[in-house]
Amino acid sequence: ALNLANQLCQYGYFFPVSDTKNLTVKDDSSLYRFQSPYYWPWQNRPPDNVEYAIYLAKRTLRNKQRHGLEDYELEALGNLRKNLANKWDFITMQAEEQVKLAKVLKKGDKIVSDSQERAYWRVHRPPPGMVSSLEQCPVPTRCRNGSRVRKRTIEDCKREVELLKNSLLRTRVKVSQALESMVQHVETYAEYDPLIVNTQPSNPWVSEDITYWQLNSPLVEIPTEKRVRRWALSMEELVSDPTGIQEFTNYLRKEYSHENIRFWMAVNDLRRSSQSQIQRKVSEIFEEFLAPGAPCEINIDGKTMEKVHQEMKSPSRFTFDAAQEHVYTLLLKKDCYPRFVRSEHYKSLLAAGIQPSQKKRFFGFGPTKKKASTSSAPNPSLLQQQAPQGTMVSCGGALAKRRGSDRSLSGSAHELAIAGVRDTRVPHSHSQSNLSDIPYRAEVNDEYGGTDPESACRVKKPSVAVVASVSTSEDVCPWESAPEPRSRKNSSQLDSCSSSSDISAAVTEVSDRFRRTCGITQQNTLDGDRRGQSSRKLSTASFVEQRRASVSVPIRHTDIRPAVSSFEESSPAIVTAPVSPAVASDTDNKTEEFTSTKTFKKSSSLTKTCSVTGANAPIISVSSVTDDTVTDPNEQKEEDEPEASCSQPLAPLAEPDAESPGSEIPPEPEPSPDPEAKSNDVCPWEDEETCKVDAPFVKTYATLGYL
């Protein structure tokens, strides 16, 4: 009965007296009134715009409070006034007259007719978002097409004839060939078809394990072996995978022939850019790649060049198609691609590829990447993480789960973007050998891992403290959840340490401490990198002292007592570290500069830190910095410069180490703000997600509740 009543109500046969907003019948004692038969829908009077305009105009003429218009009605009124401009005088006249007439009526009658009218329009002009039950199903309109079809038959037929004639001329491939290639395709890809072959590491739906998503996100530092193998199938496979393009570019850069792939990507970008930018982009591309004497002149034949010149007269999205085609098929596909597939680079990628079928879990996610990018020392942690990680998941509980659903994808994308940028920055050989070594090194014991950074920074006797703290701090699985409040605190630390990289030495200690205090968290990720750098920088005792002085200020500001204290603890340990050669001291000077600027900035912008920290709550450490950059583009810029300057001297330092036998690649300084900026570009969506960081859980639930 209620349903029936509801239906009737929706169709406008009767309406609630008290509630003018909703057209539902509730099972309580509220009053309903029958609509006057004049307004019943079966009268089939199509609602007239003029009438509606009169009605709305009438309401504007009357008491604001009771007859005020809703937003959507105001909008409708505005539109109507525009559309019915010629009749508008008439409409206002009518409205005035009706208002006058209404005044004569008794009050009771007035209310009744008012409400009737209102309910009528409520049915026929529903507010947006509400479904009108009176909206006619437009299916019958199809029959109208009949006549139109007939009218066009002749020209249709002509077109058809033309078409068929054309298709007669077409050369056809023999079915046998076609089928053969299809069979081949199917067979080749069968092993990549998750519905045929079991997915590795496990089907996320079965195991409730999100590793799969992480390993296969668009940009990863270390692609799975399967993925790398897939790149060898065809050029198309390679370029359809962002990680693939990246590796390919890296390889070509090493060969000093990456202008082709860059041109190809630029033209792809041009195709996707907005109309307004096309003119500019076309000329940019031309200047960079095609003009005689261009900085990255690509090598295309005269015919194609001519075509391009012709097309240049009317720039469009497809101006460079011919050239792109040429570059793609002749240069990239026939030349570079086969070389890439045969190259050592590819082989080492293949060797380094993660094989998720192993029971060991290598995370192609946050820490793995970061660590790989900075130093090899954290690797042992990969092994160690496995055990604690399990517990973390459970104690992270609901939080982890939520994250899994909402952010795991986006998070990885962030990380990935960063990793990607790093790759492009770092001289390739480094990351390369680094990558290849990782899985194996990981199996070696902690100490071995520990020696790597040693050799990297040429500290012959590494402070055991550092190594120890590393291994312990890495125990915790950083990207797994942390209780919200704690992680907030952490992130504030993070912030301070990410901005002034020198503190990081302390931070390792801190993280150690955190672990003891049941601590958790992401911070470790950052520690991971930073530690690498810092251990290298731990050169002179005096320097450490200075650093401490400068650093402690911001720390106090950001309200992290434990950090300070532990820093104090750690500094003696660090002091014992032997002095490193001159190169390092050079670096130190730079970093020193950097630190001071940082400190200054920190203390001056306390509020900023706070806001950043707040935003930092999410787990992925990167996002914290991302937020940083988002909230403060200015600061980011400034950060950029010192970072860059400090990374410059570090790179040469790294170089010789790479050559030292058996040593891992030294940790590369990560130009952190930079990648973040990039990551903004790469995945705006994800970024936005993390921007809202604090809110998002609430938001998600809000929407869920709304359902």
Partner: protein, 347 residues
Amino acid sequence: MPPKADPETLQLRKELEELYQKLQEDQKKVADVTFESACSGVADAPKMRLVTRKLMKGHINKVNSVHYSGDSRHCVSGSLDGKLIIWDTYTGNKVQVIPLRSAWVMSVAFAPSGNFVACGGMDNMCTVYDVNNRDTSGAAKMVRELAGYEGFLSSCRFLEDKKILTGSGDMKICMWDLESGRKTEDFPAHNGDVVAISLSPDGNTYVTGSVDKTCRLWDIREQSPKQTFFGHESDVNSVCFHPGGQAFVTGSEDKSARLFDIRSDQQVALYQPPNKTSGFTSCGLTLSGRYLLCGSDDNNVHIWDTLKNQHSGVLSGHENRVTSLTVAQNGLAVVTSSWDQHVRVWG
């Protein structure tokens, strides 16, 4: 057919017939082997065991269309209850609910980037929503309303974030530039409603299916079809490109699914369920192209081994006609929508 055809039309019709004959002969000429013999050497494919991984409830009316995002994880479904729902297929949660102006949704599309969703239907409009921005009421922000169709919108697909391709009941294909909100191309495509669009893996061509029983292959830059494919005896309800890019499959009202090869320009295989009782509304291929999945009027999803041409089972679970089917880009899962108001994830 028109009751009285003038001589010109008749003549054209005759000519058409002849050309069609000739075409078929040509096709036969290149058909030097049968599908069966060509594929006889293929090893048996391992059995595919698909079960419902998630049953996603939330719509309160028939769900008409579903489409996966490029991230292989989120998908959007549109229902006659006037809502679009964006799902996280892994958790089965709703990520967003978008109320629509009109409830008559027939087609939805997710941009490969995951930033936009589009829908359209009998409101003769294509509406694009930005998933990342909210309007005042908290729903996803409407970015564009693309009007100007004379028939219902039957299919839409994003070429990329800024471009969308639509097929409509007025037999046309339109391409829109979302930035300016303007139609960039608009041309008559078929002799009947365009019902389905499928983009090729490389994104340079697409195939349309129509109620005129044909499928056509188009280049995105051209306004005339590159190829036309005949064979179906009734409306083509769905097309899906083969991941190899040289073939496509169709699901049709004539109770069959077919495999067409582009290079040899003809139908190479015909798939029929054991009891030919119901037409197909949708079709999809697994990542390797080995298995064909077709949503059917009989509430099931039929599966064939494409090469062996064997009916290898059904997915049953839906309680009403399966309306739409989409395979994740990474091939990990299949999502189907049905008139039973549910959306199911199979994996």
